[in-house]
């Protein structure tokens, strides 16, 4: 039925099976869209956010997907700027995952603001002192770059490629992609950093506040670093899941191992910096505000030292240790475990830098405030996952996302 649009040399499932996958993901998507419309038309009273929790699940989701989508800019940086040629076999997928992550982040932000129709004020009345302004500008620009990076891939579809103009357009865009990869890397260094700065500049919130360099708190650099380190792990994890779902080997092990090795060493350097930052904050910054480390991890029902261990040890040191060793990288089970732990680690980091900041009391007569999201918040957070599944399914079916797929899965 749609065989004319399926890339040469690969086999795809029957259209019926494909449509069932789309229908299931589409149902979840519609659930999320319904919740989104409720938030837009009835307001943010549909959420469980409150005056203590101005930032909640959505901001965490935003920060998390942008960190996880960091695989796009860093893989592009390694491929086009550093010249790691093997990564051309996974960079397409990294771009697609980045595109999904960033479009999701923008959508969530559009739901999260109290007056969505005024969203453009952030550009029009921009406050240059605000980290959020920098986030908005860089995020929007980088989403534009990701779109430009994704378009040549769309143009490679067999049906579209038959049109001479589009064929040449795609070809020429490929030729200049290094420029966009460099632009994307430049923008990403800033918006990943400014997302870290969002929490780091809050000098009224000792849990997140960090000193820094010039106008940038240390979290600025840590967020960029962690996105570059952990983002590729997410790209590799989604690749692994895609391979499991399709039942095919899609990327050769040497490519996976190269990206995993770079990611592992990035994690090592990041986690050292993170530990130094934590020690300085616990021993110098927080005490200068009259607080001790344990003030942030006690007297409440949820946030204990376990979350620090989960983030730094289980989600940082362990996956880094696995990925920097030859034995760990070559073992599919150990490698996949490292990817999962790394994704958990970076998500926990983003969680504490949003939700624990809101939860921890600052005034001595204030109390810890815990929060659980409403179903509307959960549904709108799952919405991008369903959207991602749909976009990956369509892209995988109709576009040559994995250049090594025909070679790894020859058709008899």
């Amino acid at each position: 039925m749609d065989s004319a649009f399926i890339p040469n040399g690969v086999r795809r499932c029957a259209p019926g099976k494909f449509l069932v996958v789309l229908a299931v993901a589409g149902a979840v998507l519609l659930w999320g869209v319904y919740a989104m419309l409720l938030c837009w038309f009835k307001g943010l009273n549909q959420t469980n956010m409150n005056n203590n929790y101005g930032f909640a699940l959505w901001i965490w989701a935003d920060l998390a997907v942008i960190a996880l989508g960091g695989g796009a800019f860093f893989t592009g940086f390694l491929r086009y700027i550093i010249g790691k040629d093997e990564l051309k076999n996974i960079v397409n997928y990294a771009v697609l995952i980045g595109f999904i992550c960033y479009s999701s982040a923008l959508l969530i932000l559009a739901i999260d603001i109290g007056q969505p129709l005024r969203g453009w004020f952030i550009f029009w009345h921009a406050n240059v002192h605000s980290m959020l302004t920098e986030v908005a500008f860089c995020l929007s620009c980088y989403f534009g770059v990701l779109t430009i990076e994704y378009i040549p891939l769309i143009l490679e579809n067999r049906g579209i490629d038959r049109v001479p103009f589009l064929h040449h357009l795609g070809h020429n865009m490929h030729d200049i992609m290094a420029v966009f990869a460099a632009t994307g890397a430049f923008l990403s260094f800033f918006h990943q950093g400014s997302l870290g700065g969002v929490a780091g500049v809050l000098f009224g919130r000792p849990f997140s506040y960090r000193e820094g360099f010039f106008i940038w708190p240390w979290t600025f650099f840590l967020f960029t670093w962690s996105a570059a380190a952990y983002g590729p792990c997410f790209t590799l994890l989604i690749t692994k899941i895609t391979e499991a779902v399709t039942g095919k080997k899609l990327v050769k092990d040497n490519v996976v191992e190269l990206l995993a090795k770079i990611s592992g060493w990035m994690m090592v350097t990041y986690i050292i910096a993170k530990i130094v930052d934590t020690l300085y904050w616990a021993n110098v910054t927080a005490p200068s505000k009259g607080l001790t480390l344990m003030d942030f991890y006690s007297h409440n029902a949820f946030y204990g030292v376990w979350i620090l261990i989960l983030e730094i040890v289980i989600g940082g040191i362990i996956p880094a240790a696995i990925l920097i060793t030859d034995k760990g990288r070559k073992s599919p089970a150990a490698r996949t475990t490292a990817f999962v732990l790394a994704v958990i680690g970076v998500c926990v980091n983003r969680w504490v830098m949003v939700l624990q900041v809101m939860a921890a009391p600052v005034m001595t007569f204030d109390k810890w405030a815990l929060y659980y999201p409403s179903w509307q918040e959960v549904a709108t957070t799952i919405l991008p996952v369903a959207y991602g599944v749909i976009l990956i399914a369509i892209s995988y079916r109709y576009l040559p996302i994995f250049p090594q797929e025909p070679e790894l899965n020859p058709i008899d």
């Binding site: 409150n50 101005g54 009345h125 605000s130 969002v198 919130r205 005490p287 607080l291 005034m363």
Partner: protein
Amino acid sequence: MKAEENHGNTKKFGMVIDLDVCTGCGSCMVACMAENNVPFRKDESDKLKSITWMRVYKLSNGKPYPETDICYLPRPCQHCEGHEGHSPCVSVCPATATDYDMQTGIVSQIYTRCFGCRYCMAACPYHARYFNWYDPVWPKGMEKYLNPDVSVRMRGVVEKCSFCIQRYQAAKNRAFMEGKADIEEGDYQTACTQACPAGAITFGDLNNPAHAVYKLKKQPNAFRLLERLGTNPKIYYLSSREWVRRAGDNYLKNEGPAKIG
């Protein structure tokens, strides 16, 4: 440094609240809501969604009877000056919807520019900023009693204490009509100050030696909330009780309020 950056000879409005005098009656909260058209809902049991520009906290020394002692602490917006006007909330607002006025020291909120990102709420350690989770709905007939000098706010924007800035504007207009060069201390007083039956709240220009707050803020028992964070607030509190002064900020076990500037 330019005069406008350190307030120079300009005004710097602030409050001194005597916690030994405050009885916790809540008149300040009521007056504030009436003066500023602060919306409320039929069911206000979820205090985390309530809007209380002025909120009275109940503090306890935590000791058992007979040593139990309590203190009521009224908490308006602290109108932080931060460092050269970079108060925690003003510097983070991405749309310049909140502003630090170097002429008055008042942190204002521009409701029609706020798009409800709530970053300012995350930045404020005093919980002095409130989000309009709902559209304001007034009981039938009550809309006739709204203050015509204060705009009501719509759903989806942040609001907070403005030091009754409409009263400042009215006082300036009156002074101009009467040919006065400047307003006097009594010309501009906030609603909470006037409503307090115990006279616990004193309001005025912290820069003006003729105003009561100028002297009161220099009392040995004066302190500010969370002074160590560098927020540089303009609300001063007075208390003769050390545990109350200590409750104003976080201290390590070996530290005490007396050691802090």
